[in-house]
Point group: D2
Chain length 137, copies 4
């Protein structure tokens, strides 16, 4: 799964928010996010868009883990329900629901450290075969 970890490491947006790829296996991935004041919305909770970012990324690498390293993938769409406010470290667990030839459907659950269920996401991704997963030269 080296190509997955290398791809994640190229995501500067993950570095910006302080997220790391804590686990990756076939069809699954886990993104961890320590709490920081910089991640909050107006009431001091972690911003819903930040929760979306880690869930989006967890779905993406769950999907990518079932694709060849020679492929790249794009997020087609995602839908997230925020179930509870969060003011602490979070983990997003992504999992593939259906891996098709072109499209993959994945899901992510976001939890707080005390096990509280914070959010649930359903996502569609598209595989681009024989496409570099690195910036164009």
């Amino acid at each position: 799964m080296n190509y997955i970890r290398e791809s994640f490491a190229r995501q500067k947006a993950m570095a910006l928010i302080g997220a790391s790829l804590s686990v990756v296996s076939a069809g699954k991935s886990e993104v961890s996010l320590p709490y920081r004041d910089e991640l909050t919305q107006q009431k001091g909770f972690v911003h819903g868009g930040i929760i979306g970012m880690i869930a989006d990324t967890a779905c993406g690498y769950a999907a990518y883990s079932l694709m060849p390293a020679s492929a790249s993938l794009v997020t087609v769409e995602y839908k997230i329900n925020i179930l509870a406010p969060a003011r602490g470290a979070l983990v997003a667990r992504g999992e593939v629901v259906k891996a098709g030839r072109t499209l993959t459907v994945a899901r992510a659950e976001v939890y707080a450290q005390d096990g509280k269920h914070i959010a649930t996401m359903q996502q569609t991704l598209m595989m681009l075969p024989d496409t570099a997963d690195t910036p164009d030269p």
Copy 2:
């Protein structure tokens, strides 16, 4: 609309990504995001989760602009389609579709500076009447 601008100013996550509330009027809001390398995913495009963050926030303040300043609001859920990759400044325009007593439905369109349509979001929000929009003491 001072309570809107003050609420946005409390969103540390918006400062982290460099977004600003460029416009707000009754039922509408606009969030602007200059391009920075720190916002990118593995291929050098703006991260889909970052696009989601500004669309989420644009929907939220469009909705909040039709609520009393004594209320707070929470994002129930959102769904976003990414229509094209983006490697430049973005603007997210939020607009209320239906303002109900408890729930509001809003939409946001994200555009690049050349007018390219980058993403479209549909969102549900819930009003919490007589609730401070500031962190609990």
Copy 3:
């Protein structure tokens, strides 16, 4: 769970498509749909909107099973991914993800008789306390 079965029995749209409430327990429900030519789209597969109907209903009764019989509920929104075409009997299994005071989030999986995963839905519902679940007089 008599109030659930009575509510389902009032759904004339379920009778129209031939669906039945095969199972209901706390936080779960199952809607069964025998195959009929009348349910198909242009290629002879079960219409995606029909698949949505049974998933929507399965989510709804899973949610309603955790509410008092004196309440009614409305569907706020749902999102469904169609994973595979279907040309046979279907079952939609609904399950509550989070039951809140006002809002409930539920999910449904739709399967074919051979166990094939046909669709997955994520749904938001709102409880209306002290509201009749019957037509207004």
Copy 4:
């Protein structure tokens, strides 16, 4: 647009609920649904799944109208917000947001006869080039 009308005419599910394709032009379509008791849920309103069916179909034919007649298309996913209960005739207006090479994003608005906004849908579809839009022999 004959291939569109012929495709719609093969949708037995549309005949079952009594819906018709009232308008179709490049990138747009309109599905009309007269009110019938058989379409209702437990409170006598049009079933949310039925509303989803006509919105789904309106999106689909809006998308199909921009594709060659030699192609077929499948619904990848859709998300719908129900904005108000409905107890009368409905019309679903579908429109293409972005027509891509493989994927198309469309939207539909559902209105009651008095102009009330009943629902809004965002949908993703996939084109299958050189694929018959008729049942397999």
